[in-house]
């Protein structure tokens, strides 16, 4: 299951000046998987399933339009930031948005710090936050599940916890390649940015080591 904001996916997008349209298959696939594994997220959106939420990670060149419709959910990347197409906007640093997605950071705490900006219909944002918090989206597991043949050994590594940071950075590279390399030329500058984001992700994982026990 790949959440729409999988750090890998987002990092890849930050790195390469991909036309938004080229991301669409990956985004749709990701949303399909999350829709299958976490149907309750969409169910919890209740009367707001038809709402459009612009999720705008300020450190990425993209924003995302999410329609959390339980029957036909949509996640569309846009290079411009079509605020006028959205009922609500959530804007903030990528890592804060990831924290919110994973339920690692208390929603209210983030919500009410100036880190996160909210525009438009506050109720839609609250609904999304509550729905996502209830879903137990687990990025590490999500990333690993993408790796097919690597998944087995990777899980063992995660259990030792110490390797999480290095693993994440290796996986990041692998996945970025897998997703985007075929259509992109690589540049050193991009590599440097990739390393920066890897480090950030490493920090993030350190902070999550004390996660709850595995789901039974």
């Amino acid at each position: 299951m790949t959440p729409p904001f999988s750090p890998v996916l987002l990092a890849g997008m930050a790195l390469y000046p991909v036309p938004a349209a080229m991301l669409q298959p990956a985004l749709s696939a990701a949303l399909l998987i999350i829709h299958r594994s976490h149907p309750d997220v969409f169910e919890r959106m209740g009367e707001f399933t038809g709402s459009v939420i612009l999720i705008d990670p300020i450190d990425l060149p993209y924003a995302f339009l999410l329609t959390p419709d339980g029957r036909a959910p949509k996640l569309v990347a846009a290079r411009n930031h079509p605020t006028n197409e959205a009922d609500a906007v959530i804007r903030g640093p990528l890592l804060s948005l990831l924290d919110m997605l994973e339920g690692r950071l208390d929603g209210d705490a983030m919500f009410f710090s100036r880190k996160l900006e909210i525009e438009g219909d506050t109720e839609v944002v609250v609904a999304l936050r509550n729905a996502v918090d209830g879903a137990e989206i687990d990025l590490t597991a999500d990333i690993l599940s993408l790796f097919g043949p690597f998944a087995g050994p990777a899980r063992v590594a995660v259990k030792t916890a110490n390797h999480v940071a290095s693993l994440a950075s290796r996986d990041l590279q692998t996945l970025a390649d897998a997703l985007l390399a075929p259509s992109m030329a690589r540049h050193d500058a991009h590599d440097a940015r990739l390393r920066k984001i890897s480090d950030k992700l490493g920090d993030m994982d350190k902070r999550t080591r004390k996660r709850r026990p595995e789901k039974s």
Binding site: R44, M45, G46, E47, F48, G103, R104, L105, D106, G107, D108, A109, F111, F112, S113, R114, I118, E119, D121, T122, E123, V124, V125, V126, A127, L128, R129, N130, A131, D133, G134, A135, E136, R212, P213
Partner: protein
Amino acid sequence: MTCPSLELVCPAGTPAALRSAVDAGADCVYLGFRDETNARNFPGLNFNNRELAEGLDYAHQRGAKVLVAINTYPEAGNPGPWYRAVDTAAALEADAVILADIGLLDYATTTHPGLRRHLSVQASASNPEAIRFYVENFDVKRVVLPRVLTVAEIAALNKQIKVETEVFVFGGLCVMAEGRCALSSYATGISPNKNGACSPASHVHYEDEGDRLVSKLGDFTINAFDTNEPAGYPTLCKGRFMAGGKTSYLFEEPTSLSLGTMLPELAEAGVTALKIEGRQRGRAYVAAVVQAFRQAVDAVHAGQTPPLMNLENFSEGQQETTGVYEKTWR
């Protein structure tokens, strides 16, 4: 000296939060259905029947109880949703229901005499005669005390009643007597008593005016923040207002209740259960706060001083208060 056993009652807005609470050591989890029958009727929150059944299984397998809050006031001419909520809680064998409305208590007592009944804080029973009313008429087994009493008053009250009491020890803080506040409906039309929501998100707007961020509830400005000031959700009674030519947080600062250090006194005062507020908060909050209070309660049971909690980051405005439990607050 052996200390009477304190029960830790913890919030769950979602099944994930319920599991977090149970795993972190909750003795009891309280929750509500996904509608206007409970006082945290917020978008994206709460339980449907299947989730309640699963939550009951999860908790019971691990020795924890589940209490179902049905603590709003049924609409005249439309008691159905509230009756059904009580029926469902009874059918799924919830450990207790938490009720506030007298008509609904009457229904539950008559229809499901075997279903344990707690009196919600929303009933605001603050004295021995009010409590006697609910015990004699509806055989309530526990009363959640409104946040209007000092610890000394709670101790005195417990000597005059023969029913368990539960008090709030952490989280959001009503500064008005609970269930007796119409500020939210005055500004928004949405009321805690009728609709299960106070200062609802549907009526919240933030307006960026360049040099300040204004938070509004309905048509009313509740607060304004300078560029570098932490912003707050416009809960009406935690707003900044002007009175007598002065601007201040007139009702209460943005702050959360935290009674970690007062647990031994509460045990002394004869309290049975400690309640953590926050069904609308995420599971990160639930896990951290429940874990901290589990340790503190265990320490109290062992006759030790409870450890410091460091939960400021989970508090509104990163501020904590012992609130009304100390007389100077008034």
